[in-house]
Symmetry: C2
Subunit: 312 residues, 2 copies
C-alpha cells in the first residue's frame, strides 16, 4: 500500500445474488440515469443482495469513464447504499482502472469487479499480475476489495489459478474473490476448492451453477439473468440447504435456457421494456443491436412457456 | 453529415510507409511526451511518410483518452504536420471514439485509424455498421477520413467485405481505406481488388506484404517494424517498380523474421532503447512486460545476423 488506510472499516463481504445491472439509454444513446436508478431499486426490492453495476451486461465497456463516474454518483446521491455496490472498474488502460477503482473504494463500495486488460492477447501472468498490482498499489486504500472477473468467452484474456495464487499471496484480504463466467463448472469448483479457504469468495457467472457453487463453498452468483429473474434466483439462494433446492434450480434453469437462445443484453432489455412498459429500455449502444419486435415477442412467449411472467 | 464541412480541404491521402508509433513511458509509467515527439521526428526523418500514432504497437488501448489527447496536442504544438498524422481513435466506447475522432479531424489530421469496438464478441455487421456510422455522423465533418483497422488476431472482432461495402456505399470519400493486419494476404488482395477502385486505400499491416500490396494496387503499409527499420522499408516502397524490389523485400523480411521471434512491442522498445542509449525506452505498460536484458541482447544479435544495425 502506498498510502495509509482511510480509517473506515470495509463494507461487509457481498454474498448471494448480484445483478450486473443493465444500463438504460435515451434515444440519443446517452445513459438514462433515472432509469438506471429505478432499475437498481427494483433489483434490490426483488431479491438482489448486491449490484454489480458496470459489468458486461451493463455495456460498461461501451461507456466512457466519465459516464460511469456520473452514473455511480447518481446512485449514491439518490441514497443507494454503497455497501450494496460492486462496480466494474477493469479497463484496458491502467489510469482508467485506477481512477474508477479509487472512486468506488472512496465511496465505500463493497468491492470492485475487475476485468483484466483485455486488448492484448497472449499476455502472460507476469503482465497480468503487474496490472492488478499497479491498480491496488496506486489506489492504496485498505478498504479496497478486488473481485477478479474471469470471462474468457468475451475477454479472451483469462484469470487462471496461478495468477490468483500470486495475487492472494501478495494482497491477502484485498484480493477478495472472483466472478467465474467461464461457463465451465470444473473451473469454478477448482477455484473454490483451491482458494475458498483463503477468504476468496467465488461467484458463479450464471445462476445455472448457483446451487453447485453454494454446496461447494462458494459465495453466490453474479448473473445477467438477475436483471429480470432476481426473485426466483434469490429464492433458490435462500433455500439452498432445503429439499426444495433442486426443484428451484431447475425452475431458474428453464428461464435461463429460454433467454440463452437470444443475444443476452438485447433480450434482457426487451424484457425490462415489456415489464416497465417503456420501449426506450430496448435501446443498446452499438455494436449491440436491439431485439426486433417479432423476436422480442417470441422471447416473451418462450419465457411464459418456461413458467416466467415477463410482466411481473 | 449532421453538420456542414468546416470549410478546409482535407489533407492529401496518405500512402507509403506509416509507423504505428511506439509510446515511451517514464519510470512511473506516465507517457513521455518529449520522447514521443523525438521518436516521431526520427521516424519522419528516416523514411516514414506518415505516423499512425495510437495504434496497437503504441499501446494506445493502455492509454486513457486524456493521455491520447495530450500527446496529440504535444505533437501538433511542436510543429508536427497534421497532414502526416493518422491517429488511432477506435474505442469500445462510442463517446470516446467520437471525442478522439473529432479532435483529430479538427486538428487537420490526414485521417483516423479506427478499430472496431472490440469487447463484445460475435456481434454482427449491423451493429458494427451502426458503430462506425454513429461516429461519422456525430463528428459531422467533411474532412473526416476513416481508415478501418482489421486486426482479428488481437481484436477478435474483424471488419469483413460486407461491412466495408455498406460503409463505402453510405459514406463514400469519408471511408477512405483499411489497415489489414489479418496476416492473410488473400484477404488483403481481395480488399484491394474489390474496393481499390472506389478510392479505398488498402495498407498491409506488415511490410512482408508491401511489394505484393503495391503490385496489386494498394497504398502501402502501416507496420510496427517501421519503428526501427523505416529507412529500408521506405527504400523498398520507393523502388517497388524496379528490378531491385524483390531483393529489398527479402531484406526487410529477414529483419522482420528476427523480430517476430519476440513479443513485438517489448522487442521494438528494446531496439529503440539500444539505439537511443536510453534504457527508459524499455518500459511498457502492463499487461505487457519489457524484454529481459539477456533476451534483448539475443534479439540484437539476431538482428545483426539478419543484416540490420540496431545502433543506426
Amino acid at each position: 500500500m502506498t498510502t495509509a488506510s482511510k480509517g473506515n472499516a470495509p463494507a461487509p463481504r457481498p454474498a448471494g445474488v448480484l445483478a450486473p445491472v443493465l444500463t438504460p439509454f435515451r434515444a440519443d444513446l446517452a445513459p438514462n440515469a433515472e432509469g438506471f436508478l429505478g432499475h437498481c431499486n427494483w433489483l434490490l426490492e426483488h431479491g438482489c443482495s448486491g449490484l454489480a453495476v458496470f459489468g458486461t451486461t451493463s455495456e460498461a465497456n461501451s461507456l466512457s469513464v466519465e459516464e460511469r463516474e456520473r452514473l455511480l454518483e447518481h446512485l449514491l446521491g439518490a441514497g443507494i447504499d454503497p455497501a450494496k455496490l460492486v462496480p466494474g472498474t477493469g479497463s484496458c488502460a491502467l489510469p482508467d482502472a485506477v481512477r474508477l477503482t479509487r472512486a468506488a473504494t472512496r465511496a465505500g463500495c463493497a468491492g470492485v469487479l475487475m476485468l483484466p486488460p483485455f486488448y492484448y492477447k497472449g499476455v502472460n501472468d507476469d503482465g497480468l499480475f503487474r496490472f492488478f498490482a499497479e491498480v491496488i498499489e496506486r489506489v492504496g486504500d485498505s478498504r479496497l476489495r478486488v473481485y477478479l472477473y474471469h470471462i474468457p468467452p468475451v475477454a479472451h484474456v483469462g484469470i487462471g489459478p496461478g495468477l490468483v495464487e500470486r495475487l492472494l499471496a501478495r494482497y491477502p484480504g484485498v484480493v477478495a474473490g472472483m466472478k467465474d463466467s467461464s461457463g465451465d463448472w470444473d473451473n469454478t469448483r477448482a477455484m473454490i476448492e483451491r482458494f475458498g479457504h483463503s477468504g476468496f469468495d467465488v461467484f458463479a457467472g450464471s445462476e445455472r451453477f448457483l446451487l453447485a457453487t453454494l454446496r461447494a463453498g462458494g459465495a453466490g452468483c453474479i448473473t445477467a439473468t438477475a436483471n429480470v429473474n432476481a426473485a426466483a434466483i434469490r429464492a433458490l439462494f435462500d433455500a439452498w440447504r432445503t429439499d426444495r433446492a433442486d426443484g428451484l434450480q431447475q425452475s431458474v434453469n428453464a428461464v435461463r435456457s429460454a433467454l440463452e437462445r437470444y443475444p443476452v443484453v438485447p433480450a434482457l432489455k426487451a424484457i425490462v421494456a415489456h415489464r416497465a412498459r417503456d420501449t426506450g429500455w430496448r435501446a443498446v449502444r452499438p455494436p449491440l443491436v436491439e431485439l426486433a419486435p417479432d423476436r422480442a415477442d417470441a422471447l416473451l412467449g418462450e419465457l411464459r412457456a418456461a413458467g416466467f411472467d415477463p410482466a411481473a
